[in-house]
C-alpha cells in the first residue's frame, strides 16, 4: 500500500512544472548519450559491426588531447594532432582487424571489437596515464531560463546541454543525408547488408571501411571532448559506451536519427526515474539499471528499436 501511495505521489509530481523541467533537462542531458550512439550506429550501419571499442576510442581521443594540452601544446594543434591520431587508429583497426574478418558472422566481429576495446584500454593507459584530468573547453555551463525565448515555459536549462544538442543534431542531419543520398552512403548500407554481394558488385570494401573507421575516429573524438568537458577525463569515460547502448537499441541499431530520439528518451526517463521513482524503490542509484529497463520496455514493443530495420529472414 505504501509503495502504491508513493507511486501515486510520484506520478502527481511528474505532471507539474518541476516535472516538465526535469523532463526537458533529462532529454537534453540524454543528448550526451546520443553523441556516443552516433559513432556506434555509423559503424553498425556500414559494416554490420557492433563496435564495442567505441567507448575506449572515446577515452583514447580525450586522453590524447588532454595529455597534449597539458604539455603546453596549443589548443588547435592538439586538436589537429588528435584528429590525425584517431583517423590513424581507425584505419589500423580497419586494416588489421576488420578486413581479415570480413564475411565472418556478426558475433565474431563483435567479439573482435571487444578484443580491440581491451587492447586500446591497455594502450591508452599505458601510453598516457590513468590519472583524472580536467578539461576546460570554454563551453558555457550556466543555466538559462527558457522563458526568455518562450514566455510561458518557465523552466531552466543548461547552456552546455544546448551546445551538445546542437553538435549532435548537426552530426545526425549530416550523416542522415550522407547515407540516404550519396553513392558512398548507399554503398555503406549495401555493405552492412551483405559483405559478399557487395564485393561481387564491385564495391571496394576496404576503401569503404577505411572511410567509416576514419570518420568514426573523429566522431569519437568530438564526443570524447564534450564528455570530457562535462566529466573530466578518466577511465570512467569508457562507461559512456554503456550509456550509449540503451540509446541505440531504443533508436534502432541502423538508424542515425534514432540516436537522437533514443538519447532524448533515455535521458528523460533516467532523470524522471532518479528524481521521482528512486524513493519508491527504496534506494538511490537506480539510474544505472533504469536506463536499461526503459530500453527493454521499448524494444519489447518494437524488437528492433523505433527506427531500426526489421530483420528480413528467409530460410
Amino acid at each position: 500500500m505504501e509503495i502504491l501511495a508513493s507511486l501515486v505521489t510520484a506520478f502527481a509530481d511528474l505532471f507539474s512544472l518541476f516535472g516538465l523541467e526535469v523532463f526537458v533537462g533529462g532529454m537534453l542531458s540524454g543528448i550526451m548519450y546520443s553523441l556516443v550512439a552516433i559513432g556506434f550506429v555509423l559503424v553498425y550501419k556500414s559494416s554490420g559491426v557492433f563496435n564495442f571499442a567505441q567507448g575506449t576510442m572515446l577515452l583514447f581521443a580525450a586522453l590524447t588531447f588532454v595529455s597534449l594540452t597539458e604539455r603546453q601544446v596549443n589548443f588547435w594543434v592538439a586538436f589537429a594532432i588528435t584528429c590525425v591520431v584517431m583517423v590513424i587508429i581507425g584505419l589500423i583497426i580497419e586494416r588489421t582487424v576488420m578486413r581479415p574478418l570480413a564475411n565472418q558472422d556478426l558475433l565474431s566481429l563483435f567479439m573482435a571489437t571487444v578484443g580491440v576495446n581491451y587492447f586500446l584500454e591497455g594502450l591508452a593507459q599505458g601510453t598516457w596515464d590513468s590519472a583524472v584530468h580536467g578539461v576546460e573547453l570554454g563551453i558555457p555551463t550556466d543555466p538559462v531560463f527558457v522563458s526568455e525565448v518562450i514566455p510561458w515555459l518557465d523552466i531552466l536549462v543548461s547552456k552546455f546541454d544546448g551546445f551538445a544538442a546542437a553538435v549532435a543534431l548537426g552530426m545526425v542531419v549530416g550523416l542522415y543525408l550522407f547515407f540516404q543520398y550519396t553513392r558512398t552512403g548507399l554503398s555503406l548500407r549495401a555493405v552492412s547488408d551483405d559483405h559478399m554481394a557487395s564485393q561481387a558488385v564491385g564495391i571496394p570494401l576496404a576503401k569503404i571501411w577505411a572511410i567509416v573507421w576514419a570518420v568514426t575516429g573523429i566522431i569519437c573524438f568530438i564526443a570524447g571532448l564534450i564528455w570530457a568537458d562535462r566529466l573530466s577525463v578518466s577511465f570512467t569515460l569508457t562507461w559512456a559506451v554503456l550509456k550509449g547502448l540503451p540509446v541505440i537499441l531504443i533508436g534502432g541499431l541502423t538508424s542515425i536519427p534514432g540516436c537522437l530520439v533514443g538519447g532524448l528518451i533515455i535521458g528523460a526517463s533516467e532523470k524522471i526515474g532518479e528524481i521521482f521513482f528512486a524513493d519508491v524503490f527504496g534506494g538511490q542509484g537506480i539510474e544505472h539499471w533504469w536506463a536499461y529497463l526503459t530500453a527493454l520496455v521499448f524494444i519489447l514493443i518494437r524488437p528492433t528499436g523505433i527506427f531500426g530495420e526489421r530483420d528480413i529472414e528467409r530460410i
Binding site: A112, V116, G282
Partner: protein, 370 residues
C-alpha cells in the same frame, strides 16, 4: 603418435556414445583426476590453492556457464558477474538464516536462484534477439549492484558493505564439528585444502553434467537455436523453452561459480567484486577458450586468469622482485589478451579448443601432413 583410434573398434551403441571414446583419452582423464584428488591435496601449498587452483576452477565454471548461453545457444550475455553475485548472496543468506543448511545445499540453492533470475532476465529473449538482447543482461548486471546496495538486509546489515566468511562457518562434512573435535583438530585445520576439495568436487560434477547436456537432445536444441532459430522452430524445436532452459542452466552455473567465488576463493561477500569488468573477463574466457566448447571454457579461464600472474612472476624472476608495478602488468595483460582475441578470431575462430583439436589432428597423423 600417441593418439590412435586404430584397433579400437566400437561394437555397441552404448560404447559408441560413450563420453570419452578413445582409450588413451580415458587414461589421461583418469590419471589427471586421480592426481587432482589424491596427490595435489598433499603437495600443494596455500599459495597454489588459494591464488591459482581454486580461482581457476571457479572461473572455469563461470565461463562454462556463459558458454552454455552464448557459445551453445547463441544468446549474448554481459551479465554473468551479476548472476554470480545473485548466487553468492543466495548462498550467504541461506547459510545465515537456515539452521540445518550446509555448503552443498547452499551451492545448489545459489544455482537455482541465479538460474531463476536468469529466466527472468532471459524472458526478453523470446521476443528480441541478437545485440538487442545485451540490454537485458546488462540490466541484470546493474540491477544486482543496486539491489544489494539499496537493501542491506542481504548483507545482514554489515556496516562496511563487506562480510567476512570464515570457512569453518559452513559445514561441508556430516558431523563436521564433532569429527574435528574428536580428532583434536582446530577448526581452521587445513582450510585451504578443504576449500580446494570442495571446489574440485563441484567443478568436476558440473563439468560432467555440462558435457552430458551438450551431448543430449538438450544440447542439440541449444545449438539448433543458435545456428538458426527460425529453422529450429520449423523442425519443431520449442525455441522459447530452449532459450529459457539455456538461460537457466547458464545462470545456474554462474550462480554456483559466484557462491564458490565468495566462499572458496576470496572468503568475502561483496557485491562490488561482481562488477561489469568481471562479466567481461568471463566473456574473454569463452572467446579465447572457444565458443561452444567445454574444454575451451577451462582453457580460457586458465589463460585469462593466469596470464597476469605469469607476467608478474616472470617479471619478478627476470628483473628481481617487485620490478613490474601492477599498473604495468594490468595494461600489459589487457594488450596481450586483446591482441590474442583478435588474432585467434582471425586465424582460429574456435579459440584454444580449436587450436588443441588441430594440434591433436596433426599429431595423430604425424609424421605425415594434412
Amino acid at each position: 603418435m600417441y593418439y590412435r583410434e586404430t584397433g579400437q573398434i566400437v561394437r555397441s551403441y552404448v560404447k559408441d556414445r560413450s563420453m570419452v571414446p578413445l582409450r588413451e583419452d580415458r587414461w589421461i582423464m583418469a590419471v589427471f583426476l586421480a592426481f587432482m584428488f589424491l596427490v595435489v591435496p598433499f603437495i600443494g601449498n596455500d599459495y597454489w590453492f588459494s591464488a591459482i587452483l581454486i580461482p581457476m576452477m571457479v572461473l572455469s565454471i563461470a565461463s562454462l556457464g556463459l558458454n552454455i548461453a552464448s557459445g551453445y545457444t547463441g544468446q549474448l550475455s554481459l551479465g554473468s558477474a551479476g548472476f554470480m553475485s545473485f548466487g553468492a548472496f543466495t548462498a550467504y543468506n541461506f547459510l545465515l538464516r537456515v539452521e540445518w543448511m550446509n555448503i552443498w545445499l547452499a551451492f545448489l540453492a545459489a544455482g537455482i536462484v541465479a538460474g531463476l533470475m536468469g529466466i527472468v532476465f532471459g524472458l526478453p529473449s523470446l521476443r528480441i534477439k541478437g545485440f538487442y538482447l545485451l540490454v537485458s543482461t546488462l540490466c541484470a548486471q546493474f540491477f544486482h549492484e543496486w539491489l544489494f546496495n539499496a537493501y542491506p538486509w542481504f548483507l545482514n546489515y554489515a556496516s562496511s558493505g563487506v562480510v567476512h566468511l570464515p570457512y569453518f562457518h559452513y559445514r561441508f562434512l556430516p558431523f563436521q564439528d564433532q569429527i574435528f573435535d574428536m580428532l583434536g583438530l582446530a577448526k581452521e585445520y587445513n582450510a585451504y585444502v578443504w576449500r580446494y576439495l570442495i571446489t574440485l568436487i563441484v567443478t568436476v560434477l558440473l563439468a560432467l553434467a555440462a558435457k552430458n547436456m551438450v551431448r543430449s537432445s538438450t544440447g542439440r536444441n541449444w545449438m539448433a537455436v543458435r545456428d538458426m532459430d527460425i529453422a529450429a522452430k520449423v523442425i519443431g524445436i520449442p525455441v522459447g523453452k530452449t532459450k529459457l532452459n539455456a538461460f537457466f542452466v547458464s545462470c545456474f552455473y554462474c550462480g554456483v561459480a559466484g557462491a564458490m567465488y565468495s566462499y572458496c576463493y576470496i572468503g568475502n561477500l561483496d557485491f562490488m567484486i561482481y562488477d561489469l569488468r568481471r562479466s567481461f573477463l568471463v566473456m574473454f574466457m569463452i572467446i579465447l577458450g572457444g565458443l561452444g566448447s567445454i574444454l575451451g571454457s577451462f582453457l580460457g579461464a586458465i589463460f585469462v586468469y593466469g596470464w597476469p600472474i605469469f607476467v608478474t612472476r616472470f617479471g619478478d624472476a627476470v628483473f628481481g622482485g617487485g620490478y613490474l608495478d601492477t599498473a604495468f602488468v594490468e595494461n600489459n595483460s589487457k594488450i596481450v589478451v586483446g591482441t590474442i582475441i583478435v588474432v585467434l578470431l582471425i586465424y582460429q575462430p574456435l579459440g584454444f579448443a580449436g587450436l588443441w583439436n588441430s594440434v591433436k589432428h596433426r599429431l595423430r597423423i604425424w609424421p605425415f601432413r594434412t
